[in-house]
C-alpha cells in the first residue's frame, strides 16, 4: 500500500464520521420520540413501522441518488423564493438518505422495548402515583433501554456501512476508496475503504455496547467509559476537518467523474493549485450530468469534461459540425447559458468509440460501424453504465440502424474484461484508454460522423471565471496533453501489474509536460 493512498485517509475518515454521526443523531432525534408515540398509540404504530420498513426496501444507493434531484428542485424553488438556494450535492442528500435509513431499527426496537414492558410494572407505576411522563422516564424507558440500545447499535452499523455509498453524490467518505478502487481495479484501495469502514463500525458498536451494558447495570463507570470513548473517537476523527472550516479564502474544489482519466486530471489540477499555495478539496466519482450541474451551481470550481458530451447532453445537439465548430459553439453557449468558462482544450480527445477484439473483427470482416450494422443481430453490445442512455448512442443506433442481439451494462473496467471473455463482442470504449492498444483492440470507423468529437476541455465555474490564482495555476495546459501521454497515464493506473495510484500517474504526466516527453 503506498503512502498516497493513506494521505487522504484522515480527510475521508473525518467526513465519514461526521456524516454517520450526524445521520445517526438525527435518526435518534426523530425515531425515538416517534417510537414512544407509536408504542402508546396502536393507530400510529402500524403506519410508522410500515413507512420505515418501506424506506429500508429501497436500495441505499438509489435512496442517496434520489435525494439529489429532489434537493436540486427544492434549491431552485428556494432560489426563486428567497433569492438564494443551497447545495443539493454532497453532505445534505447523504445526510437525509442515511437518516431515513437509520430510523427503522431505532423505531422498531423502541416500540418493541416499550410495548414489551411487563404489565405488572406498568400497573405498579400507575399504582404508586406516577404520571404518564414519569412512568415513561422512570419505568418504561429504563426497562426498554437494552432493546432500544440494540436498535441504536444496528442503526450505527448500517449507517456507517451505507455512508460509503455517498461518494457518487459528491460527499467525501471512505467510499471514495471503494469507488475509485473498483474503477481502477486497485484492490488495495478497495480494501482500504472496506477495512476502514468495517473497523469504524466495529469500534462504534463495541463502544455503544459498553454504554448499553453500563446502562443495564446502572454502572456510571461503564457507560461513562463508553461515552468518553465515543466522544474521544469523534473528536479525534473529526479534528482534521477543523482546518477546512477555518476561514480560508482560496480553497478550491476540484471535481472528477468516475473513471481513471478523470482522477488523474483532477490530481494534476489539485497538485498545481497546491503548488501555488492554495487549499484544495476533491469531489470525485461524480455522475457525468451531476458534474456539470455542480460546476454551474458553483459547488465545484473546475473539472475536465469532453466536447461531445457537453454538445449532446448539455446543449442537446445531434448534429456534428466538426471539431473546431463544436468547441467554438460550446465556448459561447456554456458562457451564455450558465456562465461556465471553457478555459482550454487539453489537446487530446477521449471519444466514445465502438471497439472489438482484432481477431473477431477480422473474422467477421468488420471495419466500420456500417459493417457492424449487418452483423449486429448476432452480437452482444457492452456499454458503460451510462452509454445506452446517452443521446450519442441513440444517434449512432439511428444513423447506422444498429440492432444487437443483446445489450449489457458494465463498470468500464469490467467492460474490457467482458470483451476478453466473450461476454460482449463490441464495447463502448474510450479512445484515450490505454487498454485499446494494450488489449489489441480495433476501433471501428464512423464514416457517417454519427459520433461527435470529444475534445477534453477544462471547465471553470462562473464564480471562479476571473480567478487569477486559478488561471495562473492551470496555465500552460492548453493543448499540452497528447493522446499518447494520456493513454500512458491511464494505462499505468488501469493495468494489472505495477499499478500507479492516480496521484502518481498525475505526477508522471506533469513531469512529461515539463520535459516535453509523453
Amino acid at each position: 500500500m503506498n503512502s498516497g493512498l493513506l494521505s487522504l485517509l484522515p480527510d475521508r475518515l473525518a467526513w465519514h464520521v461526521v456524516l454517520s454521526a450526524s445521520a445517526l443523531g438525527l435518526g435518534l432525534l426523530i425515531a425515538l420520540p416517534l417510537g414512544v408515540l407509536a408504542a402508546r398509540s396502536p393507530r400510529l404504530r402500524w403506519p410508522a413501522l410500515a413507512l420505515a420498513g418501506l424506506v429500508q426496501t429501497i436500495p441505499s444507493l438509489a435512496l442517496l441518488a434520489l435525494f439529489y434531484p429532489l434537493l436540486l428542485l427544492l434549491s431552485n424553488l428556494a432560489k426563486g423564493a428567497f433569492g438564494h438556494g443551497f447545495s443539493a450535492l454532497g453532505f445534505l442528500p447523504s445526510l437525509l438518505a442515511l437518516t431515513l435509513y437509520s430510523m427503522l431499527p431505532i423505531l422498531r426496537n423502541t416500540v418493541a422495548g416499550l410495548t414489551g414492558v411487563e404489565p405488572a410494572i406498568v400497573e405498579a407505576a400507575r399504582g404508586v402515583g406516577m404520571t404518564d411522563r414519569q412512568r415513561l422516564w422512570r419505568g418504561e424507558l429504563p426497562l426498554a433501554l437494552p432493546v432500544i440500545m440494540a436498535g441504536v447499535r444496528t442503526a450505527a452499523v448500517w449507517t456507517i456501512g451505507a455512508a460509503t455509498l455517498s461518494t457518487p453524490v459528491g460527499q467525501t467518505s471512505l467510499g471514495d476508496y471503494i469507488f475509485s478502487g473498483l474503477q481502477t481495479e486497485n484492490w488495495a484501495m478497495v480494501l482500504t475503504g472496506c477495512i476502514g469502514s468495517a473497523a469504524l463500525a466495529m469500534a462504534v458498536d463495541q463502544l455503544l455496547g459498553l454504554v448499553e451494558r453500563g446502562a443495564e447495570r446502572r454502572d456510571k463507570r461503564i457507560w461513562g467509559a463508553g461515552l468518553v470513548g465515543l466522544t474521544i473517537g469523534l473528536v479525534a476523527a473529526v479534528a482534521p476537518l477543523a482546518a477546512d472550516f477555518a476561514p480560508h479564502p482560496s480553497t478550491y474544489v476540484i471535481g472528477a467523474k468516475n473513471f481513471s482519466e478523470q482522477y488523474i486530471l483532477a490530481e494534476l489540477m489539485a497538485d498545481r493549485l497546491e503548488g501555488h499555495g492554495a487549499r484544495v478539496t476533491r469531489k470525485i466519482n461524480l455522475g457525468s450530468a451531476v458534474a456539470y450541474r455542480a460546476l454551474a451551481a458553483g459547488e465545484i470550481d473546475a473539472y475536465v469534461d469532453y466536447s461531445g458530451t457537453l454538445w449532446a447532453n448539455v446543449l442537446g445537439r445531434t448534429d456534428n459540425p466538426g471539431r473546431a465548430a463544436v468547441l467554438d459553439g460550446l465556448r459561447a453557449e456554456l458562457k451564455r447559458r450558465d456562465g461556465v468558462v471553457l478555459l482550454a482544450p487539453l489537446g487530446f480527445e477521449n471519444a466514445y468509440a465502438l471497439a472489438m477484439r482484432r481477431d473477431k473483427a477480422q473474422a467477421l470482416g468488420i471495419r466500420t460501424l456500417a459493417d457492424l450494422a449487418a452483423k449486429a443481430p448476432d452480437l452482444t453490445m457492452g456499454g458503460d453504465l451510462e452509454f445506452f442512455s446517452r443521446p450519442e448512442w441513440a444517434n449512432v443506433e439511428r444513423v447506422y440502424g444498429l440492432r444487437f442481439k443483446a445489450k449489457r451494462q458494465f463498470q468500464p473496467t469490467f467492460m474490457y474484461r467482458a470483451l476478453g471473455s466473450g461476454e460482449a463482442d463490441v464495447i463502448s470504449a474510450f479512445s484515450s484508454d490505454g487498454r485499446i492498444a494494450a488489449d489489441g483492440l480495433v476501433v471501428l470507423g464512423d464514416p457517417k460522423g454519427a459520433l461527435p468529437p470529444y475534445d477534453a476541455v477544462l471547465l471553470v465555474s462562473p464564480s471562479r471565471a476571473n480567478d487569477a490564482p486559478l488561471r495562473k495555476a492551470l496555465a500552460g495546459l492548453d493543448g499540452a496533453i497528447t493522446v499518447e501521454a494520456m493513454r500512458a497515464a491511464n494505462l499505468s493506473v488501469d493495468r494489472d501489474d505495477h499499478k500507479s495510484s492516480p496521484t502518481e500517474a498525475a505526477r508522471a504526466l506533469e513531469k512529461g509536460l515539463r520535459t516535453g516527453q509523453p
Partner: protein, 254 residues
C-alpha cells in the same frame, strides 16, 4: 367514628357490560375490610375505583370526606398505599429505591428517604442488608414484603391490597398475613384487601364484604357470616372455613 372511605352509588361499565352495579359502601377509619367473592365478582374493580386506577362510570368516591374526582389520579394514588399479587417491583431499581419511589415522587429530601427506608425494612421484618439488592435477588416472600414497605413509605392512612398473598407458599403467606394485620393495628391504617380465600379473610378482617355478579350480596363481621346467612351463595362460600375448622377440631380431639 368518621368514614375514611365512602362509595356513593359507584358503578363501572366496560363496553356496555356492567362489571360493577351501583354500590354504596362506608368504611370507617381503622377498619380492616376483606372483599371476597369468585372471579368476575367485581371485587378488584371495586378496589381500584378507590384509588382511581379504574375510572368511574357513575357515582362518587370520597376519601376522608373529599371527593376523589377533584384530585388528579397521580396525586390521589401517592396518598394511598397499593399492594398487588404480582408485586410489580421495578427490576432496574434497588430494594431501597423501590421503597423510596413514592417519597421521591413527592419530592422528599434524600436523607429523609434513606431514613424512612431503613425504618420500613425493619417494619416489614427485612434485613437492612437487602437495601442495595435488586428485586431479582429476593425470594417471593421478601419481594412482597418490599411491596408492602413501598406501599407504606409515604405514611398513607389507607392501604389497598389486591390478592397480596396469592402467589406465596402457605407458610410464607401466613407469616406475612400476620405481619400485615400487625402493621394495620400499629399504624392505625384503614385497609381494604381483595381475596378469594375466605379463611384468610375471616382470620384477618374486621368485616367481610361478599360480592357476586358486580353486587355486594353480604356485608358483616366474620363471626356473623360464619354463623349462617340467608343467601345460599354466601352460605356456600362460608362452608370452606367451617369445614376446615371442624376437621381441625376432629383431628386434635378438642
Amino acid at each position: 367514628m368518621t368514614d375514611a372511605i365512602v362509595l356513593d352509588q359507584v358503578s363501572k361499565t366496560y363496553d356496555g357490560a356492567a362489571v360493577l352495579q351501583p354500590t354504596d359502601l362506608f368504611i370507617p377509619q381503622g377498619q380492616f375490610v376483606a372483599l371476597v367473592g369468585g372471579s368476575g365478582a367485581g371485587k378488584t374493580t371495586l378496589l381500584k375505583t378507590i384509588n382511581g386506577l379504574v375510572a368511574l362510570t357513575a357515582g362518587r368516591v370520597r376519601i376522608d370526606g373529599a371527593a376523589t374526582a377533584d384530585l388528579d389520579g397521580p396525586t390521589l394514588r401517592r396518598r394511598i398505599g397499593y399492594v398487588f399479587q404480582e408485586v410489580g417491583l421495578f427490576p432496574h431499581l434497588t430494594v431501597a429505591e423501590n421503597i423510596g419511589v413514592v417519597p421521591t415522587l413527592l419530592g422528599w429530601e434524600p436523607a429523609r428517604i434513606a431514613e424512612r427506608t431503613t425504618e420500613l425494612l425493619a417494619l416489614v421484618d427485612l434485613p437492612a442488608a437487602l437495601a442495595a439488592r435488586r428485586p431479582a435477588a429476593l425470594s417471593g416472600g421478601q419481594r412482597q414484603r418490599v411491596g408492602v414497605a413501598r406501599a407504606l413509605a409515604a405514611r398513607p392512612s389507607i392501604l389497598l391490597m389486591d390478592e397480596p398473598f396469592g402467589a406465596l407458599d402457605s407458610v410464607t403467606r401466613v407469616a406475612l398475613a400476620d405481619d400485615v394485620r400487625r402493621l394495620h393495628d400499629q399504624l392505625d391504617l384503614t385497609t381494604v384487601m381483595v381475596t378469594h380465600d375466605i379463611a384468610e379473610a375471616a382470620l384477618l378482617a374486621d368485616r367481610i364484604v361478599v360480592m357476586a355478579g358486580g353486587k355486594v350480596i353480604a356485608d358483616d363481621t366474620p363471626k356473623t357470616l360464619l354463623a349462617g346467612h340467608a343467601d345460599p351463595a354466601v352460605e356456600a362460600l362460608m362452608q370452606a372455613p367451617r369445614r376446615q375448622a371442624a376437621r381441625v377440631r376432629e383431628i386434635t380431639g378438642e
